[in-house]
């Protein structure tokens, strides 16, 4: 068990080096001109200013030297200085990461719990109305463009019905809680400020639901398929023969054994949620790394683009690692294979 985990952790640096390299290559090999965004269009004709800017940002060296410099800085936790905010990308990202993580984690909870619930309904009412309805709801989630759903839901629940707040993490004129974890929900509870907590939660509902909805389909499909498989297993016939009720068999035997595959896709789910988060953050003015990434791509802010891509890749790798470990704990066959 320990060997399995250590082996997975040992290759992590290599994987990280791989994604660093890919992120670097993509951001440098392509033709867009970052100088324009640095010095402004007007100064492009002035060779002195251009040369000074290139030297200032290290763009006058050859690509390989730039790569080595970049790696060297990375080792010290330095992702470079953003062209546009002129502050360290590392601190920019750290200050924005909690917002994205809070949104993504709540969405992951909604998606997983919702997916399991719908999967159970589908499997136990196979080919009946409830099954069709829940499968349609799931499919709808993976067919909707999240940025459009965000607009529609904001229009309905905020502008028309007024039951949920508009964009942002908190209502206007409300001060965020003292920074401990960066999660407003957690920090407000730590500060014992219940109204603030409720405000943060009400702002989370729409974006987290929309983000989680896409995941519901993936998970419910998985749960449905694996429950239908399990239902025909011999042990299920045995416990039925013992006289246990259908509901009890479903809950305590079938469902429990059907959940293992769900564990395997949480890593994948996290990556998918980060993708959705970029778009949802844009609609909900959510000050996370997604909206940071969008701003960076608009201004051709290489260090910032690099930083975001890297952090996204790293989060995904860590989530996959965690998935593998949890899976190995839950299912001994994996680590013995």
């Amino acid at each position: 068990m320990l060997r399995f985990i250590l082996k997975r952790i040992a290759i992590l640096p290599l994987l990280l080096l791989g994604i660093v390299t890919i992120a670097f290559v993509i951001s440098r090999l392509l033709p867009a001109n970052p100088i324009a965004s640095l010095v402004g269009e007007r100064n492009l004709n002035n060779p002195e200013i251009v040369a000074a800017a290139k030297a200032r940002w290290g763009l006058d060296q050859d690509l390989f030297t730039q790569y080595l410099n970049y790696l060297g800085h990375l080792f010290q936790g330095d992702l470079g200085t953003s062209f546009s905010t002129k502050s360290s990308v590392t601190s920019d990202l750290l200050s924005r990461l909690p917002a994205t993580m809070e949104l993504t984690i709540v969405a992951l909870l909604i998606g997983t719990l919702g997916g399991i619930a719908l999967g159970v309904i589908s499997a136990s009412r196979k080919d009946r109305f409830a099954d069709h309805l829940s499968r349609f709801f799931s499919l709808l989630g993976s067919s909707l463009p999240v940025f459009w759903t965000g607009l529609v839901f904001l229009f309905v629940f905020y502008a028309q019905l007024g039951v949920l707040p508009g964009p942002g993490r908190l209502s206007a004129r409300i001060e965020p809680p003292a920074n401990v974890t960066g999660f407003y929900t957690v920090d407000s509870l730590l500060a014992g400020n219940i109204p603030l907590f409720l405000d943060a939660v009400s702002h989370l509902i729409l974006p987290a639901f929309i983000l989680g909805w896409g995941l519901v389909g993936t998970i419910s499909r998985l749960v449905r398929a694996s429950m239908l498989d399990e239902m025909h297993a011999d042990y299920v016939r045995t416990v039925r023969a013992k006289g246990l009720s259908d509901g009890f068999v479903m809950r305590h035997h079938v469902l429990r054994n059907s959940l293992t595959p769900v564990v395997t896709i949480v890593g994948f789910a996290f990556g998918a949620l980060l993708t959705g988060a970029v778009l949802v953050e844009q609609i909900f003015s959510w000050n996370g790394i997604g909206s940071y990434a969008v701003g960076a791509t608009r201004t051709l802010d290489y260090p910032a683009i690099n930083g975001v891509t890297l952090v996204g890749g790293a989060i995904f790798l860590l989530a996959s690692l965690a998935t593998d470990i949890v899976y190995a704990v839950v299912d001994p066959r994996v680590r013995l294979a």
Partner: protein, 291 residues
């Protein structure tokens, strides 16, 4: 169970029709899918005869609510939203289809080569694929699209870069399992060359799961194209692309008709494709191998 279902995974395109009864191909959700998809294909081809107005020119007052003259209203520049939505079919569907075809081709060839030859070729190709897949799709696509500059063609390149590893991985798995079969062994015995064995005897047998996955992915790629446009990295104004139209709609939040039509159009087409893909998967009994 495995012994029975494995052979049924193999088969070339002609065999697709033989397997599964006709009713498996004509279940209600799939029929809905065919009809909606056919509608959009007709719209994309014949839009200049169907659309009531020019999609680029100002044809009425600004921000008109839906009415008899402008079914879905007009946008901030006085353009007809209904006409623009119909024209949108000319961008989303073909671009997503091309992106998928190119990704499937590149991914399948690389995956097949990796699986057949093994060794360092396999290691290099699959490590690059793994690394690429480690990035959240949109972040990588955004990085590529930003570096190449905005535009639909560059968005297409970005999507191919993000998407090929999925098929490489799928194809490699297929090739690895089919390589063990007897007909391959006989081909080796009569002295067929490596590439000939791979592309005549193995790859055609591996296509079913690839095609089913490609169908299911088409919907996701349509959404990705629109997402990039929504973020300003795909279609440029005044192109009537759905994602870009939704950006216009977001700017005019209190005129909901501007974003409603393109979003609904996208929903119908992606839902249709997902219905078809879901049905195909059931009809052909392909186990979902998603990333």
């Amino acid at each position: 169970m495995t012994a029975i279902s494995l052979p049924s995974l193999a088969g070339n395109a002609r065999d697709l029709w033989k397997r599964g009864s006709a009713s498996a191909w004509l279940r209600p959700p799939m029929i809905f899918g065919y009809v909606v998809l056919a509608f959009w294909i007709v719209a994309a081809v014949g839009v200049q005869w169907i659309a009531p107005y020019d999609p680029i020119k100002q044809v009425g007052e600004r921000l008109l609510a839906p009415s008899g003259t402008h079914w879905f209203g007009t946008d901030a520049l006085g353009r007809d939203v209904f006409s623009r939505t119909l024209y949108g079919a000319r961008y989303s569907l073909p671009i997503a289809a091309v992106a998928i075809v190119v990704s499937v081709t590149i991914g399948s060839v690389l995956g097949a080569v990796a699986g057949y030859f093994g060794g360092w070729v396999d290691a290099v190709i699959m490590r690059i694929a793994d690394m690429t897949m480690a990035f959240p799709a949109i972040l990588l696509a955004m990085a590529v699209a930003a570096s190449l500059g905005p535009g639909l063609n560059n968005a297409l390149i970005a999507i191919v870069i993000v998407w090929w590893p999925i098929y490489a991985r799928l194809m490699r798995g297929q090739v690895l399992s089919i390589k063990q079969r007897e007909h391959v062994e006989s081909a080796v015995a009569i002295g067929a060359s490596g590439p000939r064995i791979l592309f005549r005897h193995i790859v055609p047998q591996s296509l079913t799961p690839i095609l089913v996955n490609a169908t299911m992915d088409l919907g996701q790629v349509i959404l990705l194209v629109a997402s990039l446009s929504f973020l300003g990295l795909g279609a440029l104004p005044p192109t009537p692309e759905w994602g870009a139209m939704i950006t216009d709609g977001a700017k005019n939040f209190y005129q909901p008709w501007i974003a409603a039509a393109p979003g609904f159009a996208m929903l119908t087409i992606v839902l249709a494709i997902n219905f078809i893909g879901d049905g195909l998967r059931d009809a052909l009994d392909v186990k979902a191998t998603r990333r």
